[in-house]
């Protein structure tokens, strides 16, 4: 996925609830790339360069860990509020 596509996908999945600040995304993507979580490749689309980001194996493992942590956090939170 490329930057703009990521912001749109986030909007679409959350039905507009999560509106990412357009420019805040790129420093984050560069950081993840530097950490080896994602990799990028440039493709020419309509005569201009477009940078696509892909998850690396390290990134995929991290994603699983983060998802589990988040699910556990949400579960604990809902347990507390349901008491």
């Amino acid at each position: 996925m490329y930057g703009y596509q990521i912001t749109q996908r986030a909007k679409e999945l959350t039905q507009g609830e999560l509106e990412m600040t357009e420019g805040a995304l790129y420093p984050l993507l560069h950081k993840l790339e530097a950490e080896g979580m994602i990799t990028s490749e440039i493709q020419k689309i309509n005569g201009r360069d477009r940078k696509y980001y892909l998850l690396t194996d390290k990134g995929k493992k991290q994603q699983v860990t983060q998802e589990e942590e988040m699910k556990s956090y949400l579960f604990n939170l809902s347990t507390i509020f349901n008491i």
Partner: protein, 205 residues
């Protein structure tokens, strides 16, 4: 659909933000997509869509000081990336100079050879950048007043001042092991700055 003339307007606007090529291409692509989408889906004119895009990017494209010790102004989005790079350069230099310091404790002759080698590499990289990469005197000057080096210089001055408190002999201070640690650190920083400059990666040189 964005016309060539409209694309030129976007390019001119982004050029005024002095973005590095790596970020420029991404931001331009994002602008084009965002403006195109506003025009197609919301029926806005180019000028309206362009204005909306500029507003949504206002904070990230605002020109700010690159560093506390730098007078250069860069876009905030660029600053975040540059500062991240600076942290990496600092970390690598710390590890390298720390290893050099350990070597100094074990074998001072070997440490001296390492310093000579680093100096030769520095000269070679400087010449390579000057001949092959168009590194100018102004780049060299800005490298000498680079925020990362100014920080090291300030810390070095503090050490020099403290050293002077302990002994008034300047030669003795210069011969202190901590001075050698600072020199190795500064050289490691400069080598990385030269390396990134040769790769056309923005490190404020």
């Amino acid at each position: 659909m964005i016309s060539l003339e409209q694309e030129k307007q976007i390019t001119a606007y982004l050029n005024s933000k002095k973005l590095s090529p790596q970020i420029f291409d991404e931001v331009k692509d994002h602008f084009m997509m965002q403006i195109g989408s506003l025009m197609e889906n919301e029926g806005k004119s180019f000028q309206e869509a362009f204005l909306a895009a500029r507003i949504s990017w206002k904070r990230e494209l605002e020109m700010v000081r690159a560093d506390l010790l730098s007078f250069k102004k860069i876009a905030r989005i660029e600053k975040q990336v540059v500062q991240m790079r600076f942290r990496k350069i600092t970390l690598v230099s710390m590890v390298f100079s720390g290893a050099g310091f350990l070597l100094l404790q074990v074998d001072s002759d070997l440490f001296m050879n390492l310093q000579i080698l680093l100096f030769i590499v520095w000269i070679a990289m400087l010449l390579y950048n000057a001949i092959r990469k168009g590194f100018r005197v102004s780049n060299y000057a800005s490298m000498n007043f680079h925020p990362l080096l100014v920080r090291t210089m300030l810390a070095g001055l503090a050490v020099f001042y403290i050293g002077h408190g302990m002994t008034a002999d300047y030669w003795k201070i210069l011969d202190l092991q901590i001075t050698k640690l600072f020199c190795t650190y500064a050289l490691a920083v400069q080598l990385q700055l030269l390396y990134f400059s040769s790769k056309k990666i923005n490190v404020l040189v």
